[in-house]
């Protein structure tokens, strides 16, 4: 079932629900006994779970379910609300928020909820043990530590352990503990902390922690200083006895790795907790690394790109000037500038690039659902998901890919029985491959299904009035991209409404890309999409038509030939040339663009390829190849379909960039 129509409502409602949850849990923290709040939280979480479940977002549903379990324990008085549980609940809310944001952004990044669920289960179960942690803490010391203590005593230092209890509603506990740590450090030397400094930093502790330290101050002085920090509920300072016997020596032997452990709890449980802790810490470290990035508004990046574009324009202007006046010295400097601007360009391009993984990620799920729906056994193989593309392309390419993959699953792959009859492996395979090729990114969608039926396409073409006579097989196959061209007799839910392929094509052309199809009957079909890596700076050929200069993106150009006008022949009332035994239709740009034609026999033909079509554009002069920056033409000229934009050349001239796909 297509749930996408409900997505907006779902997103809106779940954001509201999360907001409510956040508020309610905050209230609960202040008023832990209030059953009304707990019930309200329970209700909202339940709603969220139901919605997520029906939208097929299983992770969200599972996480909220586990939250419910914990909340249920509050309701039934099995569990008491404390800051630790609240923290975990908040963490869950944060994760849920990220998940929902990801859905909103169409970002299919998977967020692991395993650790959170473990944490939730932990707070539900290990609660009891954690409660009587108090004052049974042992500082397990190694020989090295004991030596320090001995020496310190000889030098008249006091050795203390301080138990620091934070207020129940203390926020940013690790920063708070750090403040305490720093205060004590200023007074003397810290030997050990329980839990370890790392755990303190990661906030892996309840409401209290312990620090063993040396100082020349007396206990009361230290206590006062620590109490002068806010949000500290209690400080207990104990002096360490004369000999180190009070320190558990047996423990020392047990723990050769001199790791600290709050050993009142059964070792087994402890180990388990430490394990999860370690995992969480690792996860957090990973997160930290991943967060070594800055989120930047796309608009700013666009602006940045634009500015780099301006820079390129002015560089070319300067280059022109230096050539005009033969300024050698300037030229050398400009070369440097040129190199830096290219680097800048590369950089800003890279900044805007995202791995195509983001788009690909949703397909395994889709194929799974599709194969169930269609009763076909389909395997999806994804390769090159780390290929990077411009953000804009990533945003736009998803939809056409969905179409193509649906088509492959629906029309391409045969039913299992049929495949077995044909001697093919029972399981159909769809391959989704991405790679970079020059300055293009290529995405291939291959299936090993029945391939395109040439006869069917021919019949269909003729029925809508297209003559297929003289067309190559390849050309005929590419007819499927025409508007209103669906050969499927039966329109299914999945594909075959006859809107798919031409929409796919248009979308890809809009991105400056091309799509073609290669197919062999009985063997399978492959769609090959070629996309430019970047959208705003391109290599272009500058041509002159009449008095005007135009730019044509090199991406379209197959070759350029010099001809005599007399070589142009007429067939079927259309102008063509014969080039290397091929008939190529000609478009006179001067006519197409309503410019007066220049009387001369010596002209050039720019042979352009757009997808399946090859056409020659007749121009008067070639001016050369240049890197140009595409600028939108603005509202007033928006309706001119023949141009994709404009650019400013080195001499300051504004030049229109031809939209080859629209002209041919």
């Amino acid at each position: 079932m297509d749930m996408s129509q409900y997505l907006d409502v779902f997103l809106e409602e779940s954001s509201e629900n999360l907001q409510t949850l956040n508020q309610n849990i905050l209230e609960l923290e202040k008023d832990p006994e209030n059953k009304d709040i707990i019930n309200s939280i329970f209700r909202v979480a339940h709603t969220l779970k139901g919605m997520a479940g029906s939208m097929g977002f299983t992770d969200i549903a599972e996480l909220t379910h586990k939250m419910e379990n914990v909340l249920d324990k509050f309701r039934n008085d099995i569990l008491k609300v404390d800051s630790n549980i609240i923290n975990v609940l908040f963490k869950c809310l944060d994760t849920l928020e990220i998940m929902i944001d990801n859905i909103r952004d169409g970002n299919d990044e998977k967020i692991s909820i395993d650790n959170l669920i473990k944490e939730l289960e932990n707070v539900g179960e290990s609660k009891k043990e954690q409660k009587d942690e108090k004052s049974n803490i042992d500082f397990t010391l190694n020989i090295y530590d004991e030596n320090i203590i001995k020496q310190a005593k000889e030098k008249n230092y006091n050795v203390y352990t301080a138990e620091i209890i934070l207020t129940d509603d203390c926020l940013l506990k690790s920063a708070r503990s750090f403040l305490v740590y720093k205060t004590i450090e200023d007074l003397g030397e810290i030997i050990k902390t329980v839990p370890s400094v790392d755990d303190l930093e990661q906030e892996n502790f309840q409401d209290r922690f312990y620090i063993m330290f040396l100082t020349q101050k007396n206990a009361d002085e230290v206590k006062d200083l620590i109490l002068n920090i806010s949000e500290i509920k209690e400080v207990n300072i104990n002096s360490i006895a004369e000999s180190s016997k009070s320190i558990n020596n047996l423990e020392t032997k047990k723990q050769s790795d001199n790791q600290l452990e709050s050993n009142n709890i059964d070792v087994d449980i402890n180990k388990k907790q430490e394990n999860t802790k370690a995992k969480i810490t690792k996860e957090e470290e990973k997160n930290k690394k991943a967060h070594q990035s800055v989120r930047v508004d796309l608009e700013r990046l666009d602006k940045f790109m634009n500015l780099v574009g301006e820079l390129v324009i002015h560089r070319t202007r300067l280059e022109q000037i230096s050539t005009n006046y033969r300024l050698g010295e300037l030229h050398e400097t400009l070369e440097q500038v040129g190199r830096i601007t290219s680097d800048l360009q590369d950089l800003v391009m890279k900044v805007r690039m995202l791995p195509i993984e983001r788009v690909f990620n949703r397909f395994p799920r889709m194929i799974r659902d599709l194969s169930q729906e269609l009763g076909k056994d389909i395997d999806l193989i994804i390769k090159g998901e780390d290929t990077e593309l411009d953000r804009t392309v990533i945003d736009e390419i998803g939809e056409p890919l969905v179409h193509l993959i649906r088509n492959a699953a629906d029309h391409g792959i045969e039913k299992t029985e049929e495949r077995i009859k044909l001697g093919k492996p029972a399981k159909g395979t769809i391959k989704l491959i991405a790679y970079q090729e020059g300055n293009k990114a290529v995405i291939k969608i291959e299936d090993d299904g029945k391939g395109l039926d040439l006869e069917k396409i021919k019949r269909k073409a003729e029925s809508i009035g297209i003559s297929t006579e003289g067309m190559s097989e390849n050309d005929i196959k590419n007819l499927i991209f025409m508007q209103g061209f669906s050969t499927s007799e039966k329109v299914t839910d999945i594909s075959g409404r006859g809107v798919g392929m031409d929409v796919v094509k248009t979308k890809i052309s809009n991105l400056g890309g091309t799509v073609e199809v290669v197919s062999e009957k009985g063997k399978g079909t492959a769609f090959i999409i070629r996309l430019p890596l970047t959208l705003s700076i391109i290599q272009a050929l500058l041509v002159k038509v009449s008095d005007e200069t135009f730019a044509i993106s090199l991406g379209f150009i197959d070759r350029v030939i010099n001809i005599n006008v007399n070589e142009i022949k007429l067939t079927n009332n259309k102008e063509v040339i014969l080039y290397r035994d091929k008939i190529i239709p000609i478009i006179r740009l001067s006519e197409k663009l309503n410019l007066k034609s220049v009387e001369s026999n010596n002209k050039y033909i720019v042979i352009v390829k757009t997808g399946e079509k090859t056409v020659g554009l007749l121009v008067d002069e070639l001016l050369g190849q240049q890197e140009i920056v595409i600028k939108p033409v603005g509202k007033l000229l928006q309706n001119l379909k023949e141009y994709v934009g404009a650019t400013i050349l080195g001499d300051g001239l504004v030049t229109l960039i031809l939209d080859v796909a629209a002209i041919v």
Binding site: L171, L172, S174, A175, R176, F178, L179, K182, E201, E203, L227, N228, I229, S230, E231
Partner: protein, 119 residues
């Protein structure tokens, strides 16, 4: 009566803090919308205590703490942090901040921190 300098880029926050402080007998001797201004005012006025926001334009709170501490090692600075700025708070403490309060402000917390720092 202790003299306080309030540093925060949001006028709203400054207003709130100022209300809390003046109602409880503190004298707000200045307000700064960024770290640079804060350092400037500190050097002129030598307040008893500074409340310092962390993320601000021009100069952030951490840099401001460093510069104020360089000028006056005994300066008493309380950081104003939002949840999730743990790392920055630690950075500020390393640089010499004496305490921190977490937004949204609760008056009693703010007063507790001030009293203790001045204590």
């Amino acid at each position: 009566m202790a003299r306080v300098l309030i540093v925060d880029d949001a006028a709203f926050m400054r207003m709130m803090l100022k209300d809390i402080l003046t109602k409880n007998g503190y004298e707000v001797i200045g307000e700064a919308p960024n770290g640079a201004k804060a350092v400037e005012i500190y050097k002129l006025e030598k307040p008893d205590v500074v409340t310092m926001d962390i993320t601000m334009p021009e100069m952030d709170g951490i840099q401001a703490v460093k510069e104020i501490k360089a000028f006056d090692p005994n300066a008493k600075i309380i950081m104003c942090s939002a949840m999730g700025q743990q790392a920055m708070v630690m950075e500020a403490i390393k640089s010499g901040a004496r305490d921190f309060i977490v937004k949204p402000f609760q008056p009693e917390r703010v007063l507790e921190a001030l009293k203790k720092v001045l204590g």
